[in-house]
């Protein structure tokens, strides 16, 4: 038999250990390029978190949600309102984060309930509208009573803090100096590991199978006794809660929120991460989120030097060229890898069987 077969678990363990070690030292490697890169890595992880939340709705249950950013906005604003001088409230994170999850979950059900009978493109339009409604509310809820401070946004938001230990400032632990972004990195890493475990466990469970059945054939799912209404609401609610938690961390990390951060393009980006990576396949979604966060940033740094080296001068505006390359990359991936960059083994097996 294959001698590798027996050695596989050991190899797997080694891979895991190496990956864990790489993840632990990553913020210090990134810091060699400046703290800006640590922040980019932080955002990559935040987007992994968001994409995995959306993956529950889109990838598992097959509900095309174009308004996902609304839940992120709800979480972010909740944190901003409850931990900033705006209302003079400074609640601790262990109150706000769960509350953010619950409130976002409520909004998820609020969006889910009227859209239960809709599918595919119709659902996409309604969720898109919902996302915009939330953003416009945030933009306009400054009169007659000033709740969100309108387009100016809310500033001086409290960072995540455990007692006196603030995540925003430089501090020294065990003789190692951690910058703010580096500390947030570890916080995000813990959260994202949690959400990965939840995703994996959900997928291979009674609930996950029911979602998959709804995605495949809703009528057949009903016929075998799946309460499709409750299962869809559950998917919306779960996805939304993760969005809410991510939003809270985002607000704390930035120290500032404004409606601008929650535009339609953000929803589309998160959806693109899920689709590009491999819908419903957790490693694929993670890859998609990391690539779509890091690639545009890397291009930002590369566009000018490359032009200078090739043409001797800067011909095209870096910002527009960057988006052009980025867009082109998306089109090419979808053309040549329609199931995503890293599709689930089922999909791969399918292709293998076709070519057999």
């Amino acid at each position: 038999m294959n001698p590798l077969l027996g050695a596989l678990p050991v190899r797997k363990t080694i891979v895991y250990v190496l990956a864990a070690a790489a993840l632990l030292i990553l913020p210090f490697v990134a810091a060699l390029g400046g703290q800006a890169w640590v922040r980019i890595v932080d955002f990559a992880i935040l987007y992994v978190f968001l994409a995995l939340g959306l993956n529950i709705v889109v990838g598992f249950a097959g509900l095309l949600d174009l308004g996902y950013i609304a839940f992120y906005a709800v979480g972010a604003y909740l944190w901003a309102l409850l931990a900033s001088p705006h209302f003079g409230l400074h609640l601790p994170f262990w109150v706000i984060l769960p509350l953010g999850a619950i409130v976002a979950c409520f909004f998820g059900v609020l969006l889910g309930a009227p859209t239960l009978k809709l599918r595919g493109d119709y659902l996409a339009i309604v969720t898109l509208g919902f996302g915009e409604i939330v953003r416009i509310f945030m933009n306009n809820l400054n009169a007659p009573i000033n709740i969100t401070n309108g387009p100016q946004g809310i500033t001086l938001i409290d960072p995540v803090a455990i007692g006196d230990f603030k995540f925003s400032t430089v501090s020294t632990l065990f003789g190692i100096t951690f910058s703010g972004p580096q500390k947030y990195y570890y916080l995000l890493l813990v959260l994202v590991v949690g959400v990965i475990i939840i995703n994996i466990r959900l997928q291979h469970s009674r609930i996950g199978r029911a979602w998959q059945a709804i995605r495949e054939d809703e009528i057949a799912a009903k016929a075998i006794g799946i309460n499709t209404r409750n299962m869809k609401l559950l998917a919306f609610a779960m996805g939304a809660s993760f969005g809410g938690i991510a939003g809270g961390i985002f607000a704390a990390m930035q120290g500032f929120v404004s409606p601008e951060s929650f535009s339609l393009i953000e929803s589309i980006m998160i959806l693109a991460m899920v689709v590009l990576g491999g819908m419903g396949h957790i490693p694929g979604v993670i890859l998609g989120a990391v690539l779509l966060t890091v690639l545009p940033e890397a291009l930002r740094y590369a566009v000018v030097p490359v032009q200078k080296a090739v043409f001797g001068e800067v011909l095209a505006d870096p910002e527009s060229l960057r988006m052009l390359i980025f867009g082109l990359a998306l089109v090419l991936v979808m053309r040549f890898k329609p199931a995503g960059l890293w599709p689930s083994p089922d999909r791969r097996r399918e292709l293998a069987e076709k070519s057999r």
């Binding site: 475990i197 939840i198 466990r201 959900l202 469970s205 009674r206 609930i207 996950g208 199978r209 029911a210 998959q212 059945a213 495949e216 054939d217 009528i219 057949a220 799912a221 009903k222 016929a223 075998i224 006794g225 799946i226 309460n227 499709t228 559950l234 779960m238 089922d346 999909r347 097996r349 399918e350 069987e353």
Partner: protein, 258 residues
């Protein structure tokens, strides 16, 4: 089999129209516990509409069903399954991108209860339940004879295997009444014979069967009683030997002699 068994399902003057088309005109019939009941009729006679009303996919415009001693709620397909009615579809509706095993495992949904917390924390109860689901699904795959394709995607199974898999999925819901919508459609003689054996086996295990079928030979050989629908109305409900020779049935199928 017995013709005087206890009533499992009673349809009471079920009516359904689509615009001006009367798909079902006050259809009343009774299915007794433990029998194989055939529902036949020419194309467009309302057989599948009847199925859809019974399993809650359509809301009847009149009348209703009493199942196992209590009325069936209209417009609640998942509750029909919960009460013990399972069905297959005329144009097979499997979950194509799920494995054969997963298709049957998801059929256990209605008889199991692990929720979000069970799924995330995987406590003892949730793990035991999951193992039981898998065991039962594997048994059912064996039972219908597609165990060797357990790990294949449902859509890659052969046509006959897909039919069998759909029956396994329906059986996973532990039905009291199994409704098969044209299970022999597109099957050759040998496959139809295998199907006949399978259906008789299911009945022997105590499941009542409602069979919609075009294959008259299969229906007459298999069913204890047969109902004939034509233009949405019940023509006759009786044992096969009587139905076969009823002039109205012959007329419905072949037309009136000039």
């Amino acid at each position: 089999m017995s013709t005087d068994g206890e009533v499992l399902l009673a349809a009471q003057a079920v009516a359904k129209h689509f615009g001006g088309v009367k798909a079902l005109r006050d259809v009343s019939l009774t299915i007794r516990r433990g029998e194989i009941y055939g529902l036949i009729g020419p194309n467009g006679a309302g057989k599948t509409t009847f199925f859809n009303c019974m399993t809650g996919l359509y809301v009847p415009d009149g009348g209703g069903f009493v199942f196992d001693g209590a009325p069936l709620k209209a417009d609640a397909p998942h509750q029909a399954a919960e009460r013990g009615i399972a069905r297959t579809f005329q144009n097979i509706r499997l979950f194509g991108n799920m494995t054969a095993l997963d298709n049957v495992m998801v059929g256990r949904h209605v008889r199991t209860e692990a929720g979000i917390f069970g799924a995330v924390f995987r406590g003892r109860a949730a793990r035991d339940e999951e193992a039981a689901i898998r065991r039962r699904a594997e048994e059912l795959l064996h039972y219908v004879g597609v165990a060797d394709r357990a790990e294949d995607l449902a859509k890659n199974l052969s046509y006959g295997d897909q039919r069998r898999l759909e029956i396994a999925r329906a059986l996973a819901t532990e039905p009291k009444l199994l409704c098969l919508d044209e299970p022999a459609a597109g099957m050759n003689g040998a496959e139809t014979e295998e199907l006949r054996v399978l259906i008789e086996g299911i009945r022997a295990d105590g499941v009542t069967i409602l069979l919609i079928e075009h294959d008259v030979k299969l229906v007459m050989g298999l069913c204890d009683r047969v109902a004939v629908l034509d233009y949405g109305a019940l023509v006759i409900e009786d044992v096969p030997s009587v139905v076969q020779h009823d002039p109205r049935v012959i007329e419905a199928y072949i037309g009136v002699a000039a």
